[in-house]
């Protein structure tokens, strides 16, 4: 029987911090509220738009890697793909910096479907 959450740790590294990154999200998922503060609305909108863009970027990249893996692409095509992916990645980093967002911000909890990214 569990009386304390710590009882559930069977094996853990000394530093638990990297595993705890999900905790704020858990709290949010359980008590999600819309933040209508005018100052944060713009950031919220940017966050939503960039989340979708980042999702598409990752899907494209994954698909591109699968295509390369499958073979049949000539060197020039792979080169072009690589440059496009690289440019997209760099652009995304710039946008995140402009809006003060990090990777954690560009994720949505889709409930039973899991996380978007």
């Amino acid at each position: 029987m569990t009386d304390h959450p710590g009882d559930k740790l069977l094996a853990a590294p000394d530093d638990l911090a990297p595993f705890a990154r999900d905790l704020p999200r858990l709290g949010e998922a359980l008590s999600r509220r819309l933040d209508a503060d005018p100052d944060s609305v713009e950031r919220g909108l940017a966050q939503l738009v960039l989340t979708i863009v980042e999702l598409l970027r990752q899907l494209m990249e994954r698909q591109a890697l699968r295509r390369v893996d499958a073979g049949g692409l000539d060197a020039e095509t792979v080169e072009r793909l690589g440059r496009t992916l690289m440019a997209l990645g760099e652009r995304m980093e710039e946008l995140k910096e402009v809006f003060g967002l990090d990777d954690e911000d560009l994720n949505l909890d889709l409930g039973p479907l899991g996380h978007l990214l």
Binding site: P13, F19, E79, G82, L85
Partner: protein, 240 residues
């Protein structure tokens, strides 16, 4: 509204008198054939803080697991009334009994492994923007690096997953969140093997310095009954 904690076998055995439901509500057993659903009744959504409510739910499920096989219900599983619950139990009666057979005497252990360098280090070192982009094969270099990182992460995850899965009666692996998560999985393990499983995790941790491993449990077999109970809970329940 009826809050459902778990569906168990042994309908002759009442839920333990010592266990209380959300907001301290008394537990009730609803019998249907060979099944006993353990529930509490609420006029409104439970008022206790969410984390406390999660543990209260967990506590009820675990107390039931001490004397029977149970199908733990996901936190938030609700039905409008007892009639709806009985209909649901009756319509899936035999399926639920056979899923109970599959989890009897077994518990869920959850394992996560993160790349020890953390999220930043696991991503590709993007070739320096200026020089490399001008090089005539920088695109291919980028793709090659990305593929290599992906393959390395997949291999690292598989090296941890395979021995754990071999010890388990069933496993449920989910895609990692981001490139730094090498493994995210649950294992259905015979209760007497929990200590062995734990030692195996510790051994794997010693052998794989590239990963940081976290193992939690024993949990009720949430990840191994969801398919069986999801269908009828979704849609019939209130808004969780």
């Amino acid at each position: 509204m009826i809050w459902v904690y778990a569906i168990g076998e042994r309908p002759d055995l009442a839920p333990p008198a010592s266990a209380l439901g959300l907001d301290g509500a008394p537990l009730e057993g609803v019998r249907e054939g060979g099944l006993l659903a353990v529930v509490s009744r609420h006029a409104a959504a439970p008022g206790m803080p969410a984390i406390d409510a999660l543990w209260a739910h967990e506590h009820v499920v675990e107390s039931l697991m001490t004397d029977r096989a149970v199908l733990p219900m996901r936190f938030g599983s609700q039905l409008p009334d007892e009639a709806a619950l009985r209909r649901a139990l009756a319509s899936r009666h035999d399926d639920l009994l056979s899923v109970l057979d599959g989890v009897r005497g077994r518990v869920e252990l959850a394992v996560r492994a993160l790349s020890a360098d953390g999220a930043a280090g696991a991503d590709v070192p993007v070739p320096a923007a200026t020089g490399a982009v001008n090089g005539h094969d920088s695109g291919r270099e980028y793709v090659r690096t990305k593929l290599e990182l992906r393959n390395r992460a997949e291999a690292a995850g598989a090296a941890l997953h395979a021995p754990l899965a071999a010890l388990a009666a069933a496993e449920s692996r989910r895609p990692g969140r981001g490139p730094a998560e090498l493994l995210r999985a649950s294992y259905l393990v015979e209760r007497p093997l929990v200590a062995t499983f734990r030692s195996l995790v510790q051994r794997l941790q010693r052998e794989h310095r590239e990963a940081a491993m976290l193992c939690t449990g024993p949990w009720p077999p949430y990840s191994f009954v969801e398919v069986a109970v999801r269908d009828w809970m979704t849609g019939v329940g209130g808004d969780a």
